[in-house]
């Protein structure tokens, strides 16, 4: 009887063997460090108003300001560093809510099956088809732009995907021998769920959590860019909103436009790399296939090339 349980040792070993996973994790560690140590790294405190002259407005990079200055003369580098805090805060807080909701619904739905499952999945599908950004947009435009509400709204409407993935994994686990055995010796449903099923579902949860975090960070940035961020806080999205609406494009102030977006790509790319790696480990079908043979591929390419050229030659001779 072969049972593919993920043992922890082999999972981490497999993970650390993959370059893209290690690179992704390192990229994330760097951003978390920047956010944690922002006050020590940043040359200025971006929340303190500055007295600026006209020469400071959208000033290019200089010795005092390595990434130049914004439309009111504040240091861009410091804003980028402090912005990491807001983006990560929203990312982690909102995705925590997403994961809690998604996991609970996915676990219950998959484990209970039957009518409970049908009912919960209808709700999940219902929420899944509502366009998220427009929905968040109208709620925040009407109800206010506080950071708490932004986190709540992102978290409340992003869980369906997680719920679906977790449910599918529970279905694939719950009929296995060790669950049957636990059931036979009288372990309670809750006990089976927590002790036997949850650990098997964890890698899937982790993979979708990384995607949830990046989705939450991008959602906050998107809202802030459209002018719906918390007006009292500096995030990468709100920086881009100010940069775009205060003429950084027309004056070519790349030092103001590029860094916040670069950081957004950096974080989401890091998270996507991590998620990709986990998915590759837990889904063996993504590793190899029946057409997979290095030598054949090269010879095939040659054949394909000759096929293409022979297919195009008749037209050539006609002309």
């Amino acid at each position: 009887m072969i049972e593919t349980e993920y043992s922890k040792v082999s999972f981490f070993q497999q993970y650390s063997d993959r370059n893209q996973g290690v690179i992704g994790a390192l990229m994330l560690v760097l951003v978390v460090m920047i956010a944690l140590f922002a006050p020590w790294i940043a040359p200025y405190d971006p929340y303190v108003p500055v007295s600026a002259t006209t020469e400071d407005v959208l000033a290019p990079p200089s010795r005092e300001h390595p990434l130049g200055q914004d439309e009111v003369g504040r240091d861009v580098l410091s804003q980028v560093i402090y912005g990491a805090r807001i983006s990560l805060l929203v990312g982690f807080a909102a995705s925590l809510l997403t994961i809690l909701l998604g996991c609970t619904i996915g676990l219950v739905s998959g484990f209970a099956g039957g009518r409970v499952d049908t009912f919960l999945m209808r709700i999940t599908d219902g929420v899944l088809v509502i366009p998220t950004l427009p929905l968040m947009l109208v709620i925040i435009a009407v109800a206010g732009r506080g950071i708490g509400l932004i986190i709540l709204v992102i978290g409340l409407f992003s869980w369906p995907y997680t719920a679906r993935v977790v449910r599918a994994q529970v279905f694939s686990v719950k009929e296995r021998q060790f669950v049957m055995r636990a059931r036979a010796i009288g372990v309670s449903s809750f006990g089976i769920m927590m002790v036997h099923i949850l650990p098997q579902v964890l890698p899937v949860i982790f993979a979708s959590a990384t995607l949830d975090i990046s989705a939450a960070i991008l959602a906050e940035a998107g809202l802030a860019f459209l002018g719906l961020g918390d007006p009292t806080l500096i995030s990468w999205g709100s920086m881009l909103n100010r940069a775009f609406s205060r003429g950084a494009v027309s004056s070519g102030a790349w030092w103001y436009l590029v860094p916040p977006g670069f950081m957004l790509v950096w974080v989401t790319l890091g998270l996507n790399l991590v998620s990709n790696t986990i998915q590759e480990i837990i889904n063996p079908r993504l590793r190899t296939h029946h057409l997979f043979d290095e030598r054949k591929i090269t010879s095939l390419l040659g054949r394909l090339g000759s096929q293409l050229s022979s297919a195009s030659s008749p037209r050539g001779t006609k002309q």
């Binding site: 509502i130 427009p134 775009f244 494009v249 095939l300």
Partner: protein
């Protein structure tokens, strides 16, 4: 499960979702603190105009159901003499209210903008799907080769890129080569019938490319993974054993099966594409629905915001329903 029963069951669930969205849309704009009229009307409006709005939306009536009226008049129909009923009735008549900034009905405003959003979304989707599918299959076929890694890398970057930032970068880079906003050059007379289209195409290029890149990132990774999964099926081995070339296997067996998830994903991504379109239209001043929504936020033009959101939600729900049906037609394995 027979097909008709299946279709009507799906239709019913989508109708329930739709009803939930319509109800939500109503309550969101009423439940928030403050006088609904003050929220729906601009403060500079005359008292008579405000009274007109009050009547039009039945704002002097109770929110949900009118219990007092039913008791007084003793008729069941008086129960529905409420704000929610007025909202539904206006909706059924295709009346989404009046934009108070643009001085015209919301429906007309949407009608004048919807074509441009469709043009943008369709062009972006077409290019995104075309390149996403082609390169996704190529990457799966040559899994773990240099080609695969390169395609995956660019796919991941495109996927990780916030659409608005990508738009800003393209806008900054292409300054001078392409028009920076609008959909047509103002105050120009055209020499022939082709020139206006050429002009629109030049304006469309940057926003459509931004959207296409955004969608490409999502499609290429999905197609790659679903092709990989198909290629590890036993029927692929059978096809190989029959002596078909890899190219034939890819074309006849893999492409067809791997493109199945794409049907659902294109529909599911419509919401994502619309979200991207809001940001992209804002950046390129492309006067579609997204730009309209952005302007409505800035001007606190709530009827417009409410109307556009409803339209977007309804279209996405409908697209998903269609995708569901198509999928079950294409793949007989899907029963539920």
């Amino acid at each position: 499960m027979n097909t008709i029963g299946n279709v009507s069951r799906r239709a019913l669930f989508n109708l329930i979702t739709l009803a939930a969205v319509v109800t939500f849309n109503f309550f969101l704009f009423r439940v928030v603190p403050g006088d609904p009229v003050a929220m729906m009307a601009s403060p500079r409006m005359k008292p008579e105009t405000k009274e007109l709005i009050r009547q039009q939306f039945g704002l002097d009536k109770p929110l949900w159901i009118n219990m007092p009226a039913m008791r007084e008049e003793g008729k069941l129909s008086s129960l529905f003499d409420s704000q929610f009923y007025y909202y539904l009735r206006n909706l059924a008549r295709g009346d989404l209210g009046q934009s108070f900034r643009q001085k015209m009905p919301v429906v007309e405003l949407i009608g004048s903008r919807i074509g441009l959003t469709l043009l943008l979304i369709l062009t972006g989707q077409f290019i995104g799907v075309l390149f996403g599918t082609a390169l996704g299959i190529l990457a799966a076929w040559k899994a773990r080769s240099k080609t695969d890694v390169t395609i995956q890398f660019f796919g991941l970057i495109a996927w990780s890129m916030p659409s608005f930032w990508l738009g800003i970068i393209l806008l900054t880079l292409a300054r001078g080569y392409f028009p920076s906003g609008g959909y047509i050059t103002l105050g120009v007379s055209y020499a022939n019938t082709f020139e206006p289209w050429l002009d629109i195409a030049r304006h469309l290029f940057l926003p459509a490319m931004t959207l296409a890149l955004l969608l490409f990132g999502s499609y290429v990774l999905i197609v790659r993974n679903s092709t990989l999964e198909v290629l590890s099926e036993d029927y692929i081995l059978t096809a190989k054993a029959k002596g078909l070339s890899s190219f034939q296997v890819l074309w006849k067996h893999a492409l067809k099966n791997a493109s199945l998830p794409l049907v659902t994903i294109i529909a599911m991504d419509l919401g994502y594409a619309l979200g991207g379109a809001i940001q992209i239209e804002t950046i390129f001043s492309w006067p579609g629905l997204g730009r309209l929504m952005f302007e409505a936020i800035g001007q606190r033009d709530y009827p417009v915001l409410q109307g556009v959101f409803l339209l977007l939600a309804v279209s996405v729900i409908f697209a998903n329903f269609l995708a569901d049906l198509t999928y079950s037609l294409l793949d007989p394995r899907v029963e539920d």
